[in-house]
């Protein structure tokens, strides 16, 4: 392989990896908030799809990716309201409701897309990017890593903000307590239900944002079932990152790279069956779980409804 092609392949891998990593990062961060507060989102996949659909529709008709992101967040948050109402308020089973959300959302987005855009199958243009001065002139890294849509930079700011919220604010402490020992939070005079509800709403918005980023920026198109298990990878990211948002970012980049490997290898004319590469991210997840089996951590009150006075 000559040098020019080599650098082109590396650039494609890095930029493709980051483009795939950003949705994972948003989703992982969202699930981190919810999980820490004691809510398990099996419906993550559905909320992501919902966000992807509405984000795409808004970005397409509104001609603005920001409108798309907003609509995606609204879509995800709207679906997470079901979780808030049924699971957090009424204490129903989080896993069953989660499966319901995923299955119903798969159906709804597919039907809506078919009815609304199925005949035209529109695509969106590339999102405008912002190059960081100086850094963007580094050979391979410059055009792949340091030239990104504004949303990416904001997402990295979000990682830091979340880290700060978890570490040194009362809100972060409340969220942590809601998942670790809800009774203690209740005794301190803070509503467990309210804490969990707000956490879940924020998480839903982030799931929707992740989906919207996937359809509006990464893919530029909506396809039925397009998330293809990425929501569950976000779940694993949150599980392994143990309340440290930075690790969600690092993990998201790793998984993003393995997702991007598929297109890159095609570019490099390496003939490996695409299904084999398709498997890779999930194999990585399984390997991580096997190796770090003891490190993955879930809060003790996860997926359990809080009932005051119950042992």
């Amino acid at each position: 392989m000559n040098e020019l092609l080599q650098s082109a392949v590396l650039t494609a891998l890095l930029s493709g990896g980051l483009a795939a990593a950003i949705p994972l990062m948003f989703v992982g961060l969202g699930e981190q908030i919810a999980e820490r507060a004691g809510v398990l989102n099996i419906g993550i996949e559905g909320m992501m799809l919902f966000g992807a659909y509405w984000g795409f529709v808004a970005a397409y008709y509104g001609n603005s990716i920001w409108l798309g992101f907003l609509a995606g967040m609204a879509g995800g948050a709207a679906l997470s309201l079901i979780m808030v109402l049924l699971c957090i308020r009424l204490g129903l089973d989080q896993i069953v409701v989660g499966i319901a959300i995923t299955v119903a959302s798969e159906g709804v987005t597919s039907v809506l897309y078919y009815a609304q855009l199925g005949s035209t199958r529109p695509r969106l243009g590339a999102a405008p990017t912002i190059a960081i001065p100086l850094l963007s002139s580094i050979p391979i890294l410059g055009s792949s890593v340091f030239t990104q849509p504004l949303a990416v930079y904001l997402g990295i700011v979000l990682v830091m903000v979340l880290g700060w919220v978890f570490r040194s604010t009362n809100i972060g402490l409340n969220i942590h307590a809601a998942g670790e020992k809800p009774a203690a939070l209740d005794a301190a005079g803070v509503s467990v239900v309210a804490t969990r509800s707000w956490s879940e709403l924020a998480a839903g918005a982030l799931f929707g944002l992740g989906g919207a980023y996937l359809s509006v920026v990464t893919a530029g198109v909506f396809v039925r079932f397009m998330t293809h298990g990425e929501g569950y990878i976000g779940l694993v990211l949150a599980m392994l990152a143990r309340g440290r948002p930075v690790w969600v970012l690092i993990g998201a980049v790793l998984f993003g790279l393995s997702l991007a490997l598929q297109d890159t290898l095609q570019l490099a004319r390496v003939t490996i069956p695409s299904d084999l590469i398709f498997m890779l991210p999930y194999v990585v997840v399984m390997l991580t779980l096997v190796i770090f089996a003891r490190r993955s951590y879930l809060p003790p009150a996860l997926a359990l409804p809080y009932v005051r006075g119950q042992r």
Binding site: L40, I42, I82, L86, L90, G91, L92, D93, Q94, I95, V96, V97, I99, A100, I101, T102, V103, A104, S105, E106, G107, V108, S110, V111, Y114, A115, G118, R224, G229, Y232, L235, V236, M239, P273, D275, L276, F278, M279, Y282, V283, V285, M286, L289, V290, A293, R294, S296, L298, P300, L302, A303, L304, P305, V307, Q310, R311
Partner: protein, 387 residues
């Protein structure tokens, strides 16, 4: 380790009805199990109206496309794999373990038997081939749960995640096999070689055209019914079933009464996967004879709501599954007629699940039966269910 919530905990067949209940018991059961389905159909009808379709003719199409003329035969044949998956899920859900990797288990088992079937058929008599293929399917399905089972048994790693991941890996691996070692290159689209019609499951006498293989209802439904009855017997009348139930009610209790919890978890996983594998065998050997790349009927997702509506009872799930079989066979026709993608059925399935949890909540509030556990078991696990 998270203690998974109440909806999955098991329901023994015999339950003492609460005395306060003002509604008679059969009616109560009917409301709580059929109600969510009706509500979902109504909500789905409203959705159809919003999409500008006529819900009455849509549901009429489901009836005519799923039952009338010879369509009922397709529905019966569809029931067989669904029923086997349902009993596989019931078995493991009773132990309060979530096997959500059914798609991977199903497709891998299907691919392996479709891949080796034709070659095997040349060397062995047909009846032996069928038996070997059924066993292979069960083994493949079971083995695909082994890693999640071991991780759960050893380290308590959340099996929801691991089974889902293994499912995605299994689906891709099935495609790798179909486009690689098992591919029949005489076809344009990648698929496995096709089993000859006379090597497939025979029809039930009296259905279809006599002496013409491939017509009528194959015997898969009989196999599925027999296996389901056996599963029900094991779950309700044997010590193994009771052990699973204790494990499902409270894992610590199970350990305290001296059960070998890791071994129980692994056994439950292997059996559940094996039943899903059998479902694949029935579908492939009964209907298709081959597996095409990227084929995924996703039967498991559709079965889940009915497993819960049947209160994890393998007998009660039979009518539900039959109902869904009609819905899905007729749904193909109805969605096509209405100009909708077949994914509309997923909306109905999701709605059934949602309405089920809501009905459950209302039922709990009205004390139509606060718990699925027997009174004795409920006492034993410390009144955890009395929310």
């Amino acid at each position: 380790m998270i203690d998974l919530a109440d909806a999955a905990t098991a329901s023994p067949a015999k339950r003492i009805a609460p005395h306060r209940s003002r509604i008679s018991r059969p009616l109560e059961v009917l409301i709580r199990s059929v109600g969510p389905v009706l509500l979902a159909l109504i909500a789905g009808g409203i959705l159809l109206l919003a999409l500008g379709r006529n819900p009455i003719s849509f549901y009429g199409d489901i009836y005519s496309g799923g039952i009338l003329q010879s369509a009922w035969q397709d529905s019966v044949m569809r029931t067989a794999p669904l029923l086997l998956i349902a009993s596989g899920l019931i078995l493991i859900f009773r132990a309060n373990i979530w096997n959500l990797g059914y798609d991977g288990q199903f497709l891998l088992a299907a691919t392996v038997i479709a891949g080796i079937g034709p070659g095997l058929d040349l060397r062995l008599p047909t009846w032996l081939t069928l038996i070997v293929l059924f066993v292979v399917a069960a083994v493949v399905g079971g083995l695909w749960t082994l890693i999640p089972a071991l991780l759960k048994a050893r380290y308590g790693v959340n099996e929801i995640i691991t089974t889902l991941m293994m499912s995605f890996i299994g689906i891709s691996l099935a495609n790798v096999l179909i486009k690689g070692p098992f591919q029949d290159f005489s076809r344009n689209t990648p698929q496995t070689p096709t089993l000859p019609l006379n090597a497939m499951l025979p029809s039930i006498p009296g259905t279809g055209t006599p002496n013409v293989p491939g017509t009528g209802v194959h015997i898969g439904i009989l196999i599925a019914l027999a296996v389901t009855l056996a599963v029900h017997y094991v779950l309700t009348r044997t010590s193994f079933g009771l052990k699973l139930q204790v494990l499902g009610a409270n894992q610590r209790t199970a350990a305290h009464v001296g059960l070998n919890v890791p071994r129980l978890i692994i056994t439950a996983f292997l059996l559940s996967g094996a039943l899903v594998g059998l479902a694949a065998a029935v579908e492939i050997l009964g209907i298709w004879g081959y597996v095409r790349a990227d084929w995924n009927p996703a039967f498991g997702d559709a079965v889940i709501p009915f497993v819960f509506l049947a209160r994890l009872n393998a007998l009660a799930v039979i009518p539900f599954v039959a109902f869904y079989a009609v819905l899905s066979i007729g749904g193909d026709y109805a969605t096509q007629n209405a100009g909708l993608p077949v994914d509309f059925l997923l909306v109905l399935v999701g709605l059934i699940l949602l309405f089920m949890t809501i009905t459950e909540y209302v039922g709990r509030r009205r004390d139509l039966g606060a718990s699925y556990l027997t009174d004795g078991l409920r006492e034993a696990v410390g009144r955890k269910q009395d929310v």
